[in-house]
Amino acid sequence: MSGQYFGFIAGSYAAAILVLGAMIGGAVLRYRGARTRLARAEGLRESEKARR
Amino acid sequence: MSAVSAVLARDLRLARRAGAGASLGLMFFLVLIAIVPFAIGAEQKLVSRLAPALLWIAALLATLLGLDRLFQADEEDGALDQFLLSGGSLTLLVLAKALAHWLVTGLPLSLAAPVLGLMLAIEPQAMLPLALSLLVGTPALTLIGLVGAALTVSLNRGGLLLSLLVVPTAIPTLIFGVAVAKAAAEGRDFAMPLTVLCGTTLFALAISPLAAALALRQARG
């Protein structure tokens, strides 16, 4: 895997890791964020019901 | 039908009041052409070679200008509601708006193109084909732009977004429009690109009013 093209191949795979990584990271973060937000909203609603 | 002709007449009157009608778009076209030598140098051969492309890009930009207000003004002052209440067909309304827009942008640009081509030292035998390509192709630009205008009707500053939506779709028109003028300048037969250019315009005529009407209807909920 040596030779004059090493930089281009490494660059391509680095780009893939970056782009796909951003997609994966974005999906996981969004999922977690949504889960937390939903849990809080549901908690709020429960306490609302309990107060009444 | 009378509602449609009323819309057409009203749009033309509005354009005339707003700034000497067709001449404003024409002045914008002229300004764009005038700055070209400052950007690429006054070398006649180069300018001549680029002329068809420059005129076509200027036509595209001139068409995009003001598109974002096309339906918004009607939406805001209730003209759109009135039209719908009167039982008019939204598709016909869109067509009338397109015709009015083309009459004050595309048509004057096409007619002025030979003169501007003169300034850009375009080959004499390409002059008329270039004007013809603009005459046939600018309706497609207007129609495509209309869909973008309908999609962004609810946005306050949709101008930039509208360009982003419209320009990629206008690529085929641009390619074949420039190809007509280039072929003519090089003394080649330009029947094929001209035919395809007509095809793109007819296709836009078939699809765009429907898509724009659908977009307007959904924007009103």
């Binding site: 281009f8 780009a15 782009v19 999922y31 909203a41 | 609810s154 990629p168 085929p172 659908l214 977009a215």
Partner: protein
């Protein structure tokens, strides 16, 4: 058969059913995706021989070509979702369309970047206005337009329908754009340009390429499920927050 599929599609319209299905599938799909990537990458580096013309740069193909496939596949899926939104008002179709667009744009971007990195050693320039690259660039612009319109319109239902219309307009136009760009490039293409789709793809390259393609597809499905699941939760949270605000 069609009855069954439309039936199950209808059942999926219920977000609760989708949630249950997605929760069950996301984990196994993630594992499967990882395994396929490992297998495919092993094949790409250790099984596939260097190409006799392009040498080691052929390794770039194993990312470039699957991303190009995904760029088209995702748009096709988005067009179906757009139909689902406009004709059947399928509530999950609009969620799918919204979540697929950024993923499709990502694959398209990756295709462009790796194409450029492949083009430099093969063509001698970072960017050649070659018909395929240009078409992919236009496709990227259309993806960006869809995402921008989605973000610009605040009211979710309105945004969904506007984006669906734009997606369909793009789908109708993409073949025309592809045709005109192909025609245009025959006029402008210098004859000596080296073609990326070279004359031979050796059998031992085809295997790993195929596996990488499936790995990309599974990655997309997994991420789409994650994004859609998040979107459904976000919408529910929004409704609950609204109710709470009204109760106050």
């Amino acid at each position: 058969m069609t009855d069954q599929t439309s039936g199950s599609l209808l059942r999926l319209a219920n977000p609760a059913v989708f949630n249950r299905l997605a929760d069950r599938l996301i984990g196994p799909f993630a594992v499967l995706t990882t395994l396929l990537f490992v297998w495919g990458l092993y094949g790409a580096f250790f099984v596939a021989p260097p190409d006799y013309q392009q040498g080691e740069t052929i390794r770039i193909m194993f990312i470039h070509v699957p991303s190009a496939w995904m760029a088209m596949f995702v748009y096709a899926g988005m067009s179906l979702s757009a139909l689902g939104t406009l004709i059947w008002r399928h509530p999950m179709a609009d969620v799918a369309l919204k979540c697929a667009a950024p993923l499709g744009a990502g694959f398209t971007l990756l295709c462009l970047v790796t194409g450029s990195l492949w083009g430099k050693p093969m063509w001698g320039t970072w960017w050649e206005w070659d018909a395929r690259m240009t078409s992919v660039l236009v496709m990227f612009l259309i993806y960006i337009g869809v995402i921008a319109l989605q973000q610009a319109i605040e009211e979710p239902n309105r945004a969904a329908r506007a984006v669906a219309i734009l997606t369909l307009v793009g789908a109708v136009n993409l073949p025309i754009i592809k045709f005109s760009v192909d025609w245009w490039s025959t006029l402008h293409q210098p004859a000596s340009v080296f073609r990326l789709d070279g004359p031979t793809i050796h059998g031992s390259m085809l295997g790993p390429l195929f596996i990488m393609g499936i790995a990309f597809l599974l990655l997309y499905i997994t991420l789409l499920m994650l994004f859609m699941r998040a979107e459904v939760m976000n919408r529910r949270a929004e409704r609950l927050e609204l109710l709470a605000a009204e109760a106050d």
